[in-house]
Symmetry: C2
Subunit: 355 residues, 2 copies
């Protein structure tokens, strides 16, 4: 069942453009009234054009709830800002040197400036959320703020779990450990919160709001979709060409990032290969030899680790598809049919890319 | 006019204890339901016991507005949490190795963990603010959130100004430049926002809220008091003994921090001394020679730079005292007289310490 690639591309491009305009307007306003040079840097990552996945999911959910794009636009923008603020900090934490084809902010401007720009970006996202008060009323604005707080909290907890693995050199991990970390670090802010926030924003004006059961259903959907997205990202990182994907090839191996594929290999490999892999992973990025990284990538493929990742991504995306048909109730309105089908098509995309 | 040292100490200790209990309870709750090891680190700085200045100002303002301590306690706690989150990031940005007599978090656990702990602390402060919804109602809760967003924004802008000075090696600055930076970086989150937030929380229940004029008057008061506090801190950093003050002696000179004293010296010194000072300041902390730092501290004293700081601190605190008597309207209730006099006595303390 091939996904509708054009629909996915169309929705992502639309959501990206809408949110980019919102961010540009907000940053311009801050530049005029505040300290301008800070906001030049705040605008850097968002205007490098990410995928726009989070805004697209948020807007889709608002339409599925029977609402309109404009009701969820401030929130979608805030999600994209927070995502970019996290990326600025993540790049320091992971010592990543490239982001969207260019030098990371900390590599370019130093750690102190990058920490502060990440903080400023997060604050800008809270400012954007406060615009919901006039657009949606105080109660919905507060509900969205609560979702944001929860989402950000889950993300830093997931990040803490991963940083602890790194600090302790822990590689003895099962799929379950990985999934728990990704649930917190990725699923909440990439899928669960965008779904829940979009649903809240799109609920009928006035006192309309989703029930607790509906919001819980979105946690399950967002969890399965988020794990599927993350594993697919990790698979593509391992097998894709530099040009096609915008990151260095096998960048995750250079960074020593725990992925289901790497963890599978370390469980499946014989003692010699395991020792060789762990010796490589223990080295800081700059000391890793390209030959050894290439060996590891090949050995993982040969050991069936990449297939293991593909199978898991498929399993999670099929479960998400099943949930999607039950917990989202696309509105019957013809307007914005693209948006209403977006999440389904994204999940089919994952299945197609990992077949 | 000697200040009432015991009153100041009493209020600080009370505010500190109240807020410390709130933070301990909140952190325990998060530890139980979330990823525990993260919250052990989040609790580190707050439980090292800072001065408690921000909570004390916030609670005082609530009482001056005719309210009660419990109305402002969640906000005072959030202010203290945000302060500590900023400190964790600031310590990385300033490469500070000691904080409250112990190793800074990043020196102890590395930059990645410290960035994430700072983020987690900031998120915790937003969570605490959301408790205002049940305690104060949705409208006041949102007003306080707005103040928080403004305060955080001013702080990162002030930080950006200072980081740009550092990145460019800018030392050619007047008192005016310094005061503008401190207004944003320090005054907003140390005095202005605590005053405004306390006043909002303490306003009569229901629709009661301070007028825009009242809130503007608090900006002026907080600005003058904040500059006075910051310059006094900087004077004490320069002249105090290690034991008495909890930081290294002349730590600001080791860090190359722009203070009104240092900037005055660079304007007042002859070309040879100026060149010698700039050569020292251009060195990274680890390359600075203790003898040269001691020379600079002595030369600044001899050039009247320390006196210049003292005079400025006095001027700002006297202006703040004048404003205080006009913009704060201490309630007539006998309860908590200490709190009502706290800010006045703090300003007298500044005057006494810098005489």
């Amino acid at each position: 069942m091939a996904h509708d690639e054009q629909l996915v591309a169309r929705v992502l491009a639309q959501a990206r453009a809408l949110v980019r305009d919102e961010i540009a307007t907000l940053v311009d306003r801050r530049r005029e009234t505040g300290y301008g040079p800070l906001y030049d840097l705040v605008a850097d990552y968002p205007l490098r054009e990410g995928k726009g996945l989070r805004p697209a999911i948020c807007l889709s959910a608002a339409l599925a709830a029977g609402g309109r794009v404009d009701q969820a636009l401030a929130s979608a923008t805030a999600l994209e800002l927070l995502h970019n603020g996290f990326l600025v900090h993540d790049d320091i934490e992971d010592a990543s040197t490239f982001r969207r084809g260019r030098a990371t902010l900390f590599a370019d401007r130093g750690v102190p400036v990058a920490i502060n720009v990440g903080d400023a970006t997060n604050i800008l996202s809270v400012g954007k959320l406060l615009e919901n008060v006039s657009g949606l009323g105080v109660r919905k604005a507060l509900l969205v703020l609560r979702e944001f707080e929860r989402m950000a909290r889950e993300s830093v907890e997931g990040q803490a779990i991963e940083l602890d693995w790194i600090a302790r050199g822990t590689f003895d991990l099962g799929d379950h450990d990985y999934v728990r970390m990704v649930y917190k670090k990725t699923c909440w802010y990439t899928v669960i919160a965008p779904l829940r926030i979009g649903t809240i924003c799109g609920a009928p004006p006035g006192t309309g709001r989703p029930t607790d059961d509906e919001l819980l259903g979105l946690v399950a959907l967002g969890f399965h979709a988020g794990v599927a997205f993350q594993i697919t990202d990790d698979v593509l990182n391992l097998v894709a060409d530099e040009g096609a994907y915008g990151k260095e090839t096998a960048g995750d191996l250079w960074e020593g990032k725990r992925t289901v594929m790497l963890l599978h290999f370390l469980r499946a490999a014989g003692p010699d290969d395991r020792r060789r892999a762990l010796a490589l992973l223990a080295l800081p990025r700059a000391d890793k030899a390209g030959d050894e990284v290439a060996w590891l990538a090949g050995a993982m493929d040969a050991a069936g680790s990449v297939d293991h990742g593909r199978v898991l991504a498929q399993r999670y995306s099929r479960r998400a598809l099943d949930l999607e048909s039950r917990v989202l109730h696309p509105s019957r309105a013809d307007e914005s049919a693209d948006y209403r089908h977006f999440l389904r098509e994204m999940l089919h995309y994952v299945i197609d890319r990992t077949l």
